[in-house]
């Protein structure tokens, strides 16, 4: 039996319960026992001084790539889970594009076993939409669900066949599983490697038009309407996509969507400014300033339900090459909070909305437990210092891979303590550099 | 100042006479050509050409040489020296060339000029005519015709200023180091 914890003096932000103010959070027997003002702490309880800090539900990330099984040199379930709790994330959804693809119970069970052994963040496996994610045949959703998958995805690839996408949405209804989809029309993408626009023209790099994402978003909204399936749109990046989701919602369609911190904070200009640095190459690509602003507005007004990092570790083998040849993706678990907090400082997002998009927003989208500090729920808690300034030192990142556009940059905002099930699984030293 | 306009005028005339005499003695007065080293030797070379024309009754061909691409100090100097055009339109083979420069100092410019000339062909002989020899040789180069000799220390700057280049009047000045 773990010791009772009193997290005192912190500003508790729990949007699910409408709480935003200084409270004490009591953790007992691994659950949230109480959240109230001015509680008397018994002598045998441990105090955690959270003055000047925020105390929020642990963050829930709907979209991470843990690379295990198959590419452990980039990341493992354990190193990924460690990076997660360092960033304040107590639960992550692990995408199935591992090697082999998670289209069966064995891989699902492996991921769960590794996560349990690590004992850090909770890992919810996501199963494949199609066998091998090849886009031909449906995977066995019943088996995947029984094994522990919470959603389905062929992420990394779109579901190119409209017919397969339709059947997938229908079939998944029997299991209550949402489909989280990577939206791009491969024919329109062609050989593109960055957003198509004045910057790609200047750099002479192949462009990916925003329409490549828009046409698939529109297609899948129509299919969701047709089938009544649960559609979740992964890493949206264009104003067209945001607009389409907003309109669909207004019509009463059930659809959820996520956006990454980098699509909110960066634009395609960063590729030029960095001199073709592959730390700015990902899919979907960084878009125009208008697109980023539309995504930010969509997040602020609730059109987009969640912030999800799309944490995609890659080693120098994949990244220290010419831009055309580099793999897509950046790590993001450990930088998500300060990067998004900057948007709050800019006035584009409220603090409450930020926390909501990191906690109950994602949890609700996938129907996951967590994301709240309600009485009786497992104590997944993040204690954050919004004012802590630190420099992103690749050597000190917990992720095995260091492909981050914020390498060497100074960020403000850091997770200092993370609890999962009432246990402290992460603690940052008091004095942050 | 070491040389004034009258000194320079007299020196150029004397040089013209000496070159003409030597050419006649060698029987090559018809095979002379002047090659002026840019940029200091160009105007001087043209004056010498006029003097020789008068002395010989025939105008020798005239060319200019830019030695920047032949310098031996590219590694030290680093920054690209200003390169102007080399313009040698007459055949060089068999000619008696009169290489002209304003000041003879270390001898490196002349060495570069000689390297460049032989890339144009094989002259019969090359004479060197300078207005001022200030000593300080670093290579075994000697002028065949000298207008005036000057004592100058290392670090001093010896300048020939001519009206063709915009000076108010011809002069040779020595700027001592530190002034």
């Amino acid at each position: 039996m773990s010791q009772t914890l009193f997290i005192e003096g912190g500003r508790v932000i729990d949007p699910a319960n409408g709480v935003d103010g200084v409270r004490t959070v009591v953790v007992r027997d691994g659950v949230v026992a109480e959240v109230a003002e001015r509680l008397e702490r018994p002598r045998d309880a441990r105090a955690i001084d959270a003055r000047g800090r925020w105390v929020t539900p642990g963050f829930v990330d709907l979209h991470v790539h843990l690379r295990e099984p198959g590419q452990e040199y980039k990341e493992t379930v354990e190193t990924g889970a460690r990076a997660a709790v360092a960033g304040g994330f107590t639960a992550v959804c692990a995408m199935p594009n591992t090697r082999p693809v998670n289209d069966n119970a064995s891989v699902t069970e492996l991921v769960l076993a590794r996560a349990a052994a690590a004992g850090l963040a909770r890992v919810y496996p996501v199963g494949a939409i199609s066998k091998g994610s090849e886009g031909q045949e449906l995977a066995e959703y019943g088996e995947l669900r029984a094994a522990g998958c919470v959603a389905l995805s062929d992420d990394g690839r779109p579901v190119a066949s409209s017919a397969l996408m339709r059947r997938a949405l229908e079939y998944a209804r029997a299991f209550g599983l949402p489909l989280t989809v990577h939206e791009e029309d491969l024919a329109l993408v062609g050989k593109g490697v960055m957003h198509e626009g004045p910057t790609s023209t200047r750099l002479g790099l192949g462009g990916i038009p925003a329409a490549a994402e828009d046409v698939m978003v529109l297609r899948d909204l129509a299919l969701a309407e047709l089938t009544g399936g649960r559609l979740h749109l992964a890493h949206l990046s264009t104003r067209g996509a945001v607009r389409a989701v907003r309109e669909a919602r207004a019509r009463g369609l059930r659809v959820t969507a996520e956006v990454t911190p980098h699509h909110l904070a960066l634009t395609d200009e960063a590729v030029a400014a960095s001199g073709y640095s592959t730390d700015f190459k990902m899919n979907p690509p960084l878009r125009s300033a208008e697109d980023a602003a539309a995504c930010l507005a969509g997040l602020a007004d609730g059109t987009l339900d969640a912030i999800a990092t799309d944490h995609a570790p890659h080693s120098p083998v994949e990244k220290d090459v010419e831009f055309d040849a580099a793999a897509n993706g950046i790590v993001g678990l450990e930088t998500a909070f300060p990067v998004c907090l900057e948007l709050v400082r800019r006035g584009a997002l409220t603090e409450r909305r930020l926390v909501e998009a990191l906690t109950c927003g994602p949890a609700r989208a996938f129907g996951l437990p967590g994301g709240t500090l309600s009485r009786g729920v497992p104590a997944d808690v993040a204690v954050l210092d919004p004012g802590a300034a630190w420099t992103v030192d690749p050597e000190r990142l917990r992720s095995r891979s260091k492909n981050s556009p914020w390498k060497g940059k100074r960020l403000v905002g850091r997770c200092t303590i993370t609890l999962v099930g009432g246990r402290i699984v992460h603690e940052e030293a008091a004095a942050a550099t | 100042m070491p040389l004034n306009a009258a000194d320079i005028d007299q020196a150029v005339r004397r040089l013209g006479g000496e070159i003409a005499d030597r050419a006649r003695a060698a029987g090559v007065q018809r095979d002379l050509a002047i090659v002026a080293i840019r940029r200091g030797g160009v105007h001087l070379g043209q004056r010498l050409r006029r003097a020789l024309t008068q002395a010989l009754g025939a105008e020798p061909p005239f060319g200019t040489l830019d030695i920047a691409l032949y310098r031996d100090d590219l590694a030290e100097k680093g920054a690209a020296p200003v390169i102007g055009p080399t313009d040698v339109r007459f055949p060089v083979d068999g000619k008696t060339l009169v290489l002209v420069d304003d000041v003879l100092y270390t001898g490196r410019t002349v060495r570069a000029a000689l390297d460049e000339i032989v890339d144009f062909g094989r002259p019969r002989r090359v004479w060197l005519a300078v207005l001022v020899d200030r000593g300080g040789r670093e290579l075994p180069v000697a002028a065949d015709f000298v207008g005036a000799r000057l004592e100058a220390a290392e670090g001093d700057d010896v300048q020939v200023r001519l009206v063709e280049s915009g000076a108010a009047e011809d002069s040779v000045v020595v700027r001592r180091r530190g002034t």
Partner: protein, 313 residues
């Protein structure tokens, strides 16, 4: 130029003065090429390595000749297209070559930004001989040089570039260089071949060839690739040639008297340029080739000389 730039990766990085510096120097270099003995000792003892990942006989030979006229040693290294799956990465290849202590690495690669990547990992000077659709700076400079020779200063002149601008690094370098020298640049081609946002680089866009060349002082014709698999930009060369190709009649009726015609080569005779135009009186294509050596000599001279300064320090 040396003090400010260690490499030449694109004309977008150069100022007007720096471009003129190269062109002025190339004048002297061209004179050397007209001598009986085409050799000067300026880069004696220096070495220039051509690292070409895309095959190209003309550009590579041009750089090789330029190096040799300057008495530098030239080495050619032709690699098959770099790809991690084929073995050695780009950085590894460049580092291995660096072990031979070249003074200048001339690199051509199909990926935009590749010369920049190499420059960040080697200590010698890097010259881009073309990277993807990004830039081909020496071509841009030799085109500027040729134009200056033929039509005088580019200030206020109109230059029309015709062809697949989207995929053309020559077009981008020409655009960057010529606008810096004060020219007005027009781009002409089918809409599928004009990249988005190109007006921001300082050009106007036209789809009608006749309009585009009206009053132009120079026309630069780009090579059209016959097929682009999976993403056809034009129905075929027949229609392209009819609408955007230059034949003798159009040249006679649409071009001003003093207007010159350039082409970076190799020419698709009969597609973008009719043979009689390519060989005709307005064509300065062969001048471009000669000037290419002179301009590359100037580039190597400026970068190799500066390089020594660096090693001394």
């Amino acid at each position: 130029m040396i003090g400010r730039h260690k490499h030449l990766l694109g004309l977008a990085d150069l100022s007007r003065e720096e471009i003129l510096e190269v062109l002025d120097l190339a004048v002297s270099m061209k004179e050397v090429l007209r001598r009986p003995i085409k050799k000067v000792p300026s880069l004696r003892g220096r070495s220039v390595v051509n690292l070409f990942f895309e095959s190209s006989t003309r550009t590579r030979s041009s750089f090789e000749i330029a190096a040799k006229v300057l008495s530098a040693d030239a080495l050619n290294w032709t690699a098959s297209a770099s790809s991690v799956t084929k073995g050695e990465t780009l950085i590894d290849t460049a580092r291995n070559l660096e072990a031979m202590r070249p003074d200048v690495l001339v690199i051509r690669h199909s990926a935009g930004g590749a010369p920049r990547l190499v420059a960040d990992h080697v200590s010698c000077a890097v010259v881009s001989a073309g990277d993807g659709a990004h830039e081909h700076p020496s071509q841009g400079l030799l085109d500027c040089f040729t134009l200056r020779e033929k039509i005088g200063t580019l200030e206020g002149k109109i230059v029309t570039i015709v062809g697949d601008v989207t995929h053309s690094r020559v077009a981008r370098s020409d655009l960057n260089g010529m606008t810096r020298l004060g020219a007005t640049v027009r781009l002409c081609g089918p809409p599928t071949m004009i990249p988005p946002g190109v007006e921001a680089l300082g050009a106007t866009v036209h789809h009608d060839l006749r309009e585009a060349v009206r009053g132009a002082h120079a026309v630069i014709m780009l090579r059209i690739q016959h097929e682009r698999i999976g993403d056809p930009l034009i129905p075929g060369t027949r229609e392209y040639s009819k609408l955007w190709g230059l034949n003798a009649r159009k040249a006679e009726e649409w071009l001003d008297e003093g207007c010159v015609i350039l082409h970076p080569g190799p020419i698709n005779r009969g597609v973008e340029l009719a043979p009689e135009v390519a060989d005709g009186p307005r064509s300065v294509i062969l001048d471009q080739v000669e000037n290419g050596v002179a301009v590359r000599m100037a580039i190597l001279y400026l970068l190799a000389g500066g390089n020594a300064e660096e090693t001394r320090a």
